[in-house]
Amino acid sequence: MKTIYFDNNATTKVADEVLEEIKPYFCDLYGNPSSMHTFGGQIGIKIREAREKTAALLGCDPGEIIFTGCGTESDNTAIKGTLAAHPDKRKVITTRVEHPAVLSVCRDLENQGYTVVELSVDKKGRLDLSELKSHLDDNTAIVTIMFANNETGVVFPVEKIAEIVKSKGVIFHTDAVQAVGKIPINLSKSNIDLLSLSGHKLHAPKGVGILYVRKGTRLAPFMLGGHQEGGRRAGTENVPGIIGLGRACELAMRNFDQENKKVKSLRDKLEKGILAKCPDCMVNGDTESRLPNTSNISFEFIEGESILLMLDRFGICASSGSACTSGSLEPSHVLRAMGVPFTAAHGSIRFSLSRYNTEEEVDFTVEKIPPIIARLRELSPFIKK
């Protein structure tokens, strides 16, 4: 059975070009980039090149890139490192819809006595910037707000937010794990101080991430040890991961507009096809400001895990915000923050596409979904015939 992969916000396929690029760095070119000998030293050059490629995608200076182990590490470093560098400030501002890599850190800080403000969102998942302004004060150490939401794909006006935060002299961090490669980012023309990204969300291998740190931003290191990454992140470099990420960034830059246009048109076709054929369903999130690859659809009166399992039988991979799949007993915190009714939150399915999806896959899925939804509704006690 062929796999139809519509779960690219969870992780992505490593691009063939990336795999080719990193193959030599396991058994042949396995040197330590910190070594004095040529064998190791030549790897250091490769890492420098990768740093330049990632900097090019983000529009920043290579010296502003720190390679980390994953997006979560980048988020942790950004928040905790900033607080450690500003011990006099005791307040953090974030949103209710952040990824757990940010939200769990903030809630832990709250337990340690920090004041944490979680900004709310409206029913389309949008922020109210005046709420942000009202909370910014001299005690605020950092504002951390995601670039784009992993569940709904809603894109926040991060540049505008960064400007507001900057005007108050506060550090601004954004978790851009879902945004990089999907929407254009130029850090040289922005007020963003810290930005996290994750390799495996843009066709690089798992186990590598980046934290962008604007020059002049005070940040205490999170991992202590050797002098790697200019002493800002100790630990021997994940050489294949970093080189692969460099290549993946290069690929993302090439045909950026064209590929995202293609992904968007496939996503739109999928979404329209489903909405046209299935009654009682709706799209979650602000469709005016959304990632080109994400569609979050709620099917009322049925439960997400059941839908996923039925899709799985056809090799279709998606994810759900239902309680049964969230690892807890309550549906997605993002949908709840948006005030999506329980009836819809339990039946939410997220489709997230990539440049590797095809029109045939979309057509096949649009054909398979309506009978699945109809079948599960036959079983549902909430449908009255």
Partner: protein, 290 residues
């Protein structure tokens, strides 16, 4: 990814007895949209009081649908009294087991069955009502229900209770209360259990004697006190004088003296040596309280 048995998958993809029986003898409706799963069970009896037909409609995950399907298969053909004895474990076993975190699906099946039987016996269309004190407000789970899943499935952690009946899985505010219920039931269990008595030695060294006293306290005395929310610590052993401190509820209990003589001293005399007498470390307890 949930690891479901083939039987669960089979009952999910091909559920038996889907639908609603028109003009049923019993109807049971449990769960809600807000909770993430709901089940409506209807059954019809034959002239001998056997369940002639049973049908279900379920909103929920794969294991909820499979559990409902299994439930209807189990009870069909059963006399009503026998059906009333079906437990959540029977449903899970029928399916070759369910993942721990999904056991609440089997409990929902049993609850719906109970509600339907209640509805039949009540004669009216009265809905299943919650009985007793609600412990978990997020999912509307009563103390009675929590006690029942603990008893029937031999549970001993809060996490297990959450897996079996969802209580504690929302805001988590009731976890302390669930913990207390578990402790109480554990104490009751220990009371009933016949613990093999420690060996009463003829000639004990001092260390052996202390060990035997401690063992007696652990096995024979503490579980009984725990059942009432109390506890006990061994403070000192001086010849035949054993000094203990009562804790928790026992510390303020008006009957503490009786507990000391009838339970603590009696047990230690029985299992260690008849010469022993017990004293309560009053001063010490007071000091620690300060």
């Amino acid at each position: 990814m949930w690891e479901y048995t083939d039987k669960v998958r089979e009952h999910f993809f091909n559920p038996r007895n889907v639908g609603e029986i028109p003009d049923p003898d019993g109807v049971g409706e449990v769960g809600s949209l807000a909770c993430g799963d709901a089940l409506k069970l209807t059954f019809k009896l034959d002239e001998k009081g056997r369940i002639k037909d049973a049908k279900f409609k379920t909103f929920g995950c794969a294991s909820a649908i499979a559990s409902s399907s299994a439930l209807t298969e189990i009870i069909k053909g059963m006399p009503l009294e026998e059906a009333a004895k079906v437990t959540n474990k029977d449903i899970a076993d029928y399916l070759g087991g369910l993942p721990e975190q999904k056991m609440h699906c089997s409990v929902m099946g049993r609850e719906a069955l109970e509600a339907a039987i209640e509805n039949y016996k009540g004669g009216s269309k009265k809905k299943h009502v919650l009985e007793g004190k609600v412990v978990c407000n997020c999912f509307g789970v009563t103390e009675k229900e929590i006690e029942r899943v603990i008893h029937e499935n031999n549970l001993d952690t809060v996490e297990q209770v959450t897996n079996y009946c969802k209580a504690g899985g929302g805001c988590g505010g009731c976890k302390g209360e669930i913990e207390k219920i578990i402790e109480r039931i554990k104490g009751e269990r220990a009371k009933q259990k016949t613990v093999p008595a420690p060996v009463k030695g003829q000639k004990l060294t001092n260390i052996q004697k202390i060990q035997l006293i401690q063992q007696t306290i652990n096995e024979q005395i503490r579980p009984a006190l725990r059942a009432d929310g109390g506890n006990i610590d061994l403070i000192d052993v001086d010849g035949n004088k054993v000094i203990v401190a009562l804790r928790g509820m026992c510390a303020q209990c008006a009957l503490a003296n009786i507990t000391m003589k009838d339970l603590v001293e009696a047990k230690i005399r029985e299992f260690v040596s008849p010469e022993i007498y017990v004293e309560e470390a009053k001063d010490l307890a007071d000091e620690q309280g300060k």
